[in-house]
Symmetry: C2
Subunit: 69 residues, 2 copies
């Protein structure tokens, strides 16, 4: 899978580090790093928690269609 640049951008927009996100949603820094780098396949609940923290929706960050791919 490719990198999740939309996540990286949304995080940058909030000026939060990977560790900030991790602490806020209750996972480790490595998990957030792996998601951003597209290394794996997180659970939907984790995705939802990240989206809510960043003020985005699932489609904003994790859905790929014509507009963002």
């Amino acid at each position: 899978m490719g990198k999740n640049l939309r996540l990286k951008a949304a995080r940058a927009a909030k000026d939060m580090s990977q560790k900030d996100i991790a602490d806020a949603v209750g996972v480790t820094r490595q998990t957030i790093n792996a998601i951003e780098n597209g290394d794996y396949n997180p659970s939907i609940n984790l995705c939802i928690a990240i989206c809510k923290l960043l003020g985005k929706t699932l489609n904003d960050i994790f859905w790929e269609d014509e507009e963002n791919e």
Copy 2:
């Protein structure tokens, strides 16, 4: 967690059984059943596969906001 009635409805709209969905996305019937009944926390890739199969987006089926909750 509560039941995922939006998934159940989208499936009904396509006249597909739980097993039909399961076979099409490559998981077992029990997994689809558990997701519909809100028993657990599927991976985002599985959610995406289900959405694409049903012609819906992540927000349609798995995102909870003011409109659908």
